[in-house]
Symmetry: C2
Subunit: 425 residues, 2 copies
Amino acid sequence: MTFLLPEGSLEKDMLALGAAARSAAAVVRDASPDQRSAAIAAMARHIRACASDILAANRRDLDAARTRLTGPELDRLALDAARLEGLSHAIAAIAAQPDPVGAEIARWRQPNGLDIARVRTPIGVLAVIYESRPNVTADAAALAIRSGNAVILRGGSECLATSLALHRAIEQGLEEAGLPKASVSMVPTADRAAVGLMLQGLNGSIDLLIPRGGKSLVARVKADARVAVLGHLEGLNHVYVHASADPAKASAVVVNAKMRRVSVCGAAETLLIDAVVAPQLLPRLAEDLHAAGCRLRGDARARTLVPGMEAASDADWTTEYLAPILAVRVVDGLEAAIEHIARYGSGHTDAIVTEDAVAAEAFLNRVDSAIVLWNASTQFADGGEFGFGAEIGIATDKLHARGPVGAEQLTSFKYMVRGTGQVRP
Amino acid sequence: MTFLLPEGSLEKDMLALGAAARSAAAVVRDASPDQRSAAIAAMARHIRACASDILAANRRDLDAARTRLTGPELDRLALDAARLEGLSHAIAAIAAQPDPVGAEIARWRQPNGLDIARVRTPIGVLAVIYESRPNVTADAAALAIRSGNAVILRGGSECLATSLALHRAIEQGLEEAGLPKASVSMVPTADRAAVGLMLQGLNGSIDLLIPRGGKSLVARVKADARVAVLGHLEGLNHVYVHASADPAKASAVVVNAKMRRVSVCGAAETLLIDAVVAPQLLPRLAEDLHAAGCRLRGDARARTLVPGMEAASDADWTTEYLAPILAVRVVDGLEAAIEHIARYGSGHTDAIVTEDAVAAEAFLNRVDSAIVLWNASTQFADGGEFGFGAEIGIATDKLHARGPVGAEQLTSFKYMVRGTGQVRP
């Protein structure tokens, strides 16, 4: 879609973009699964073919952003040939995933002979508002087409040139497969007013808003949106080492949950350890964590067991560090652990380490988080690890989707009722 | 809950009501299925036991409303011993329904040995905003408890005394079964500002708003809510009589879809008839509909086939009559029928009558409504007819739930992951 923004016409142009997405959504919905697969595969090919343009655009973004962004922020924004190849490869994998549209979720016959099937359908028009990660542009486009939806993308202003270059390649892929270019649109301006208009729904053209980024972005979208939002808030995740924990499993799970990658939403942020085993186990866990490069901040009881540990304040129980720091609290039993998680957790991912099946099942049942684990690392919070393929995030809300959001979670459903002339008495 | 409303304290009291509901929700969630069943059964018993108080309150409501409401409105509001018995009976049936909480929706094992189960969980706190139908008070309370949720009820001001009397009986049932009274709260004021506060979410205490009532109520809630809404808009439902329709089935389905009950959301409002069969079939359908007491409003082609038929204007294609009136349009084939429904329909329930399986499957696939039927009446749009038990409405949105909303649709889910010490590579 050629989309220019002369002065003062933002609202009109955004509404036109919404209307075009709405029309395109009907075409994507009615396309065959093979056509959707072909479009996604073509997107991956065209991204490879446009690599030099995309990398050049990325260098312009990096040059412009260098004075304003920190090192890690610049690193998230940066593309090179290897990263771009990884991005194409990820989309090609989505092309090979099964198409969820039309799949029967359930089917049964009523006593009057009516044959009722519950069948997956696309949602319609998604809108993804994200920060400066180029891979989201590609992932979101591919997952939207895989699930039979159209999508409106609005990336961070720092990666606008990169996003637009990626989007041109995506449009070429759509065109090659005979799908409308408006199936994947990109808001072509850094003007923040565009986000405000999207939050209002573009005159009914947006069915679902997906904010993907930091806490403040997600919180703003959730507070101000007038359309449905699929929110994934922070991962304030806990590992609870129960009185009957196996020490070797406890160490492996805790170190992996915290340190495998500290910047992902599935990373653990707080260790809860049972007072019964803390004297024996906490010093060992502290040693293993230190050896892996992790700093600990403990409550008073933890600090008496591990000399030299930094002190935790109340703020530590609600801080998503995304860094090699772990808060540590000694708790008096399962109930206290469940209470701590209910009070301070974010409902994302929480784990118990124990050999006691009764305690484990109580934890799995009573901790009200999207993902609850027994004797496994919180870092398994990932659509790929669940067998869902690519994901657009981990939903922490309880409506529509919860946990990893892949193509299947981006669908709705309808009931198909097949009769032989039945009327209702 | 004793809940008085001195001057000026509405916001404070509503926030307290929200906080009490949030606390109660954790207790309802962790209760056993048997305890939830016992509470619902006790609610039904206490409603029977309080019949004279409830009927006296209803007479006060009716006396106060007599000058302001129409006959049908008064009739919806009115209770007598038989209706009250029907209402108790409906709740008792919900007590006997299976409890959805904890049910496994799916379970699989990953190659690394992780055992992943997707398990139903309650949503938390529901809020139901409805008009003056006393049965909604009872149904919503029972369905909320059945699904492990707490609920805040806000009924129409015309039935406030009736609702409060019913609510006192419901509280007695909760208390008898050991559940907190705040599991089912009732906003005890007709002040419309209470609704505004609920739309803001009561400081995070409401997880899902369910408006149940006329189009303007639902539209206002959807436009102004800052929390998730499960909306059911109007049922602008179509029956399309295809060129290969069996005439006897067409007549039976069309007459039933329109005339079985004209005031329900599953009633048909527009008849689309294929131009190929209209000359033979439409006069017969018109005769059968007239005989059943239905008026027809047709487009130009329909009127040439049925002399004396009233003329339809464009407004008729978008009017939910809820009355014995049917709009009639002659269409040129399946594509034209699908286009008409996409343009004018409300995405609720649409049916095709045909003996041609290819046409039927195309209709079922391409009409994007919550319920699509082949050779069956649109009046089957009902949770009971789907085998779901009691329902709180038919959702026309595509997120979370679509179609009949019963106890199962009022749940979320979480993933329970059982491991043996797995860590993520």
